[in-house]
């Protein structure tokens, strides 16, 4: 029941970013739908929708206008677009409460760099949820002789990599290990005014808003971590930074986009990480009928 209250409060928090009319309509959804809702979607010229496990459902008949999208942007930034400029360049904003607002539209490019959006055409308000205990069933498998083993979480987008990564970070940190998090997109901790909006444990340090590779090197120098965590290894520089961390005797915790391990190994950058023995455990996520299943595989390098 407590969880249902939490999920509904997250839904209500995210719906507060919507223009008044749709916010009111969202409140009339039944509790089950509120608990399962994943995103609000607004596209110009189309009705606003809420994304549920069985697809998108309309929040009203009126089509979204540019004014509505600007209202969402203004609400999400607290009328301070300049203060979120860096993340907006990457197409998203972290709003109060840890909700992430993805943006689409005509990008403004100056000196070869995206500065923001001239005209917004769509927005996706992600109803970010902490699922404390999501990793309970697999935590024991991530340790050997009391030592936390470097772990890679692999799944396609939308399967819950970030959710389980956040819970593992929280649990590992609460066991007493110093965890440093390179949170480039601010999605793991969702820091607002210096305070994390998501619980990442008692011994966790976070750098957000800068490249993952840069943040890892900075954290290694400044925070003396025992575990380094990052969401989504996407660039060779991320892989290099993780190798540097591993060479310092730090355990790693990261995620990667792929259907499964063989799909991951088909990509040279990830193959290098896996075959180099950087990770000792690989978690894969299966999503069936809206439920997530986690499988932990022992990984000892290319031989496996």
């Amino acid at each position: 029941m407590e969880n249902l209250f939490y999920l509904i409060s997250r839904f209500d928090g995210a719906s507060a970013l919507l223009p008044t009319e749709w916010r009111k309509n969202a409140r009339f959804l039944d509790e089950r739908d509120k608990a399962l809702a994943e995103e609000f979607r607004l596209r110009i010229g189309m009705p606003a929708t809420v994304l549920l496990p069985d697809g998108e459902r309309r929040l009203g008949d009126r089509d979204v206008t540019a004014k509505d999208l600007n209202a969402v942007l203004e609400n999400a930034t607290g009328a301070s677009a300049h203060a979120v400029g860096e993340s907006m360049k990457n197409g998203y904003i972290n709003a109060q409460g840890g909700f992430r607002v993805g943006l689409g539209g005509s990008a403004i490019v100056k000196d070869g760099e995206v500065r923001g959006f001239r005209a917004l055409s769509s927005a996706a308000i992600r109803i970010t949820k902490e699922v404390k205990g999501a990793a309970d069933a697999i935590m024991r498998e991530l340790y050997e002789n009391g030592e936390f083993l470097s772990t890679l979480i692999v799944s396609p987008p939308g399967c819950g990599k970030t959710t389980i990564l956040r819970d593992i970070i929280r649990q590992v940190s609460n066991t007493g290990l110093r965890v440093s998090v390179a949170d480039e997109r601010g999605e793991l901790a969702a820091i607002r005014d210096g305070s994390p909006q998501m619980e990442l444990g008692t011994r966790t340090d976070v750098i957000e808003g800068m490249t993952k590779s840069g943040a890892v090197m900075m954290l290694l120098r400044a925070m003396n971590p025992q575990v380094v965590a990052m969401d989504e290894i996407t660039a060779p520089a991320d892989a290099t930074a993780l190798e540097s961390a591993a060479n310092c005797g730090v355990s790693l915790l990261a995620t990667a986009h792929a259907k499964d391990i063989s799909d991951l190994r088909a990509k040279a950058m990830y193959r290098g990480l896996l075959d180099g023995g950087l990770f000792r455990r690989v978690i894969t996520i299966d999503l069936k009928d809206g439920r997530r299943g986690y499988t932990v595989k022992k990984w000892e390098g290319a031989a496996c």
């Binding site: 507060a16 223009p19 607290g78 301070s80 677009a81 203060a83 923001g116």
Partner: protein, 171 residues
């Protein structure tokens, strides 16, 4: 004797009226000057420190003097309804609901237009708009100071003269 007392009262009243008109000219120049200083702080906070709007409004409400502080405090109070109302509306309302600013229609309009840009665009765009508004307010300030210099004595003298005129007619 009564006539004399009455005459003094009339002259004092009209003279006070003239002086208060002169003082309003001084107040307008002071308000414009304070608004310019506040917008310069706003420019630095937005463009150099990327300060979020609620924090910025709070700082300005604390650092400025009335009636300018009341305008920023009013806008900050309005921020509670952001989401139901646009920032432009809140800014405009704050300017309009602070008549003590003694701004002319043109000056108010200049300030209100800033609400279209504040917090909405990137740093450079906001810097450009703030620079433009500061320049225009500086122009208004010069005009207000000149007006004050020329008209202060005139208002006071006219007030007293009007009093004597009324007294002469009545006597």
């Amino acid at each position: 004797m009564l006539r004399l007392i009455g005459a003094v009262i009339v002259v004092a009243c009209t003279g006070t009226f003239g002086v208060s008109c002169a003082m309003r000219l001084g107040l307008r120049a002071r308000v414009l000057s304070e608004l310019i200083a506040a917008l310069e702080v706003m420019r630095s906070e937005i463009c150099d420190r990327l300060t979020p709007m609620p924090d910025l409004l709070e700082t300005l409400a604390e650092q400025t003097n009335p009636p300018v502080s009341r305008m920023f405090a009013g806008c900050l109070e309005g921020m509670k309804s952001l989401g139901n109302r646009s920032f432009y509306f809140l800014w405009k309302t704050a300017v309009e609901q602070t008549p003590e600013l003694e701004l002319t229609r043109q000056e108010s309009q200049t300030l209100i237009e800033l609400g279209h840009v504040l917090g909405r665009y990137d740093v450079e765009e906001q810097r450009r708009s703030l620079n433009g508004v500061i320049r225009r307010l500086e122009g208004y300030l010069k005009h207000a100071q000149e007006e004050k210099r020329v008209q202060t004595k005139a208002h006071a003298a006219l007030g007293v003269a009007a009093g004597f005129f009324v007294v002469i007619i009545l006597i």
